[in-house]
Symmetry: C2
Subunit: 465 residues, 2 copies
Amino acid sequence: MFKKTLLTLALASTATLAMAAEKADYIINNATVLTMNNEKTVYENGTVIVRDDKIIAVGDADLSAQYKAETVLDVDGDIVMPGLINTHTHASMTVFRSLGDDVPDRLHRYIFPLEAKLVARDMVRIGAQLGNVEMIKGGVTTYADMYYFEDEVAKTVDEIGMRAVLGQTVIQFPVADAKNAQAGIQYALNFIEEYKDHPRITPAFAPHGPYTNSTETLQQISKLSLEHDVPVLIHLAESDREIEVIAERSGGLSPVAYMADIGALNHKVVAAHAIEVSDEDIALLKKHDVGIAHNMSANIKSAKGVAPALKMFNEGLRIGLGTDGPMSGNTLSTIDEFNQVAKVHKLVNNDRAAMPPINVIEMATIGAARALHMEDSVGSLEVGKQADIIVIDVKAPNMVPVYNPYSALVYSAYAANVRHSMVAGQLLMKDREMLTVDEDAIRNELLEYTETVRKTVLESGEEIR
Amino acid sequence: MFKKTLLTLALASTATLAMAAEKADYIINNATVLTMNNEKTVYENGTVIVRDDKIIAVGDADLSAQYKAETVLDVDGDIVMPGLINTHTHASMTVFRSLGDDVPDRLHRYIFPLEAKLVARDMVRIGAQLGNVEMIKGGVTTYADMYYFEDEVAKTVDEIGMRAVLGQTVIQFPVADAKNAQAGIQYALNFIEEYKDHPRITPAFAPHGPYTNSTETLQQISKLSLEHDVPVLIHLAESDREIEVIAERSGGLSPVAYMADIGALNHKVVAAHAIEVSDEDIALLKKHDVGIAHNMSANIKSAKGVAPALKMFNEGLRIGLGTDGPMSGNTLSTIDEFNQVAKVHKLVNNDRAAMPPINVIEMATIGAARALHMEDSVGSLEVGKQADIIVIDVKAPNMVPVYNPYSALVYSAYAANVRHSMVAGQLLMKDREMLTVDEDAIRNELLEYTETVRKTVLESGEEIR
């Protein structure tokens, strides 16, 4: 009996230990963890536990002891935070990056002629592949894309292991993958059907803008998006030309008011730019639960102006950071936006306390998730959410010291300070090495493709400038 | 005879070859060379030859064959350009970086109390050491510094092998290294005497500003600077407070007009900021051949405004980029300024063609050299100039592709894209490894020092924020 009791106790003890050491895939510890949850909890010596594609625990150092994982990532004091979410880009346009940047009429001299001649499946794939690598190396784990042949972009996102909302363009002009808006809608519907069940890819409609589509097309897309429960990505309130066309079409309405008026604003819409918006427009965007992509760097480069992002953020709109495409931004990590977002809003509001770093990081993470209506699955480090996690090196000299991690990220970090990137529990980059794709092959294929771009520019009578 | 003739010919041939293969220390080849000379010559497959501390040849690929060097740096298509020149910083303040960034009255709540308690030889050395590493890793080969105990900064610059203009602060209040302005001037004179013959260090006076020094002190420094042929680094036309104080003192003059009026503007002066300058002020700055340090990132962060750098550049003033100190900027490579300088000037001038990348790169290199009155020795890759050279990685995904190297640098590059940095013919960083100092030891010493900073902040009743 005595022996048996002892044995029972021993077994019980082992069972308790076994129960305590719950199985996990990753223990990420020795970290400054920025959760970006509602309370903005920071664990100064924190731990994140990942199993399968999810976060199963977040907390202090003592959490580690409760789990047993295949891989322990001791990050030696680095910042661990939610993967960044780029709410607006055109990743494939990396093939054109640094071309004609400062030409005033570049849209008609460079972008449209090049796209007319070159947009094709290979170009879309080649450009997106490089954009994906750039984003993962810059800490972007989810992005929203608007372009042509989005099924090609989807294949690259699937392969690398990222998360994306991919919007198939609908536009009234003939383009490479559709001869008119109806053909574009059909292309989008086929794409949506193909990817509707993908765990990391959300197919979407991307009507280019209100001024480049008819009222009927915009209404049709709105209806279809609700039926299929997919997002609508659109450029909105971006340019003077758009304001003019829409005012003429609608008898004086602003683009936002027009979209509301025709019944095309709702909780599926993600509006890129929202530069030229009045207080009434902002109220409409809020009322209709529209997501906003704020692309500071591209907007000031084109001298289009500064979106009232501070007001939209403060009034509780769904707003997140975006980079715009690489002919606009020019880079694809929203880390490159941080500094400019914080500082230009201080400048235009004449207030050094405006747009503090913690708000910028919110717009880069959970705010961006809200803008894409994905806040239930990504954007913060919380139990049950997808394990989209990045690790930022705090030993690079520009990041030393860190009294305030939000300040260090916003005012000091470069995209190259990202050390590891994980999406859905899979490490895609470790110590700056890409793990799921061949970075050299992707770069070389793009560089080879630039010969075609150069030839096309020269044949059109323009210079490489 | 026949044999002898052959032998003679063979000898002659060897002699010719030997003469052709001139001795050098470095051949840097397979490069896109941006010379930043007057013609802005670019060698697409270029070569730079270095011997001792100087550039002895710059040209196309075939130049390589004419030299025989200890080290051939085949940079595989990377960009080779003049080392960047940071025209204004306070490198030692890295010890305070990311502290109280967005506090409206931070100068009085954080900076002054911390400096009053902590500025000392060790603090100055520890902060400058990290700043130096950050700058070399970010491609800055020369910087202009204003702080206390500049002889400590000088020791760190000497050790790491950089080039610097080091300005010893003169200010009317008691500070750590001088009880009043006279003591500051004496400290500066001793420092100037000690370093006047250093090959890479230019000692200078640094009167803090016109409003923090008396007219007599400013005049005395001006006279001494001409006598000793040393620069005068000064904050000028930076803040509303300065404008008020100087207007009151001078019967309504602007800071620039006041400096001219008292005879303190001349070709030895480097004015940091020049934000609040009228057209008349700009004309005075030009007339007196004053150098201008343009610190975009710091100026917009503090919501002080945007200096009319576009006008100053276009009117041919000596103007270069600076970062300001790490409590202001917050980083120390002017690469971090490029994007903001190009884009914010487009924004405020409402013109996407304003401030094109080539002008930004000019202000980062030869323009900055002109601002420091050093254009005869640094700022461009030309024969006879100092071999201050950096190599920028064009294979990092953010830098792919390069249709226009100036655009790629300005709109896409991070400080971390710098691969190698050379000063005076000595490689200080190779493949991102520091060669002349121990980066880990420098970082660890600074991190240890932050405990003192934290303690001091908390004891003063403020938070770490």
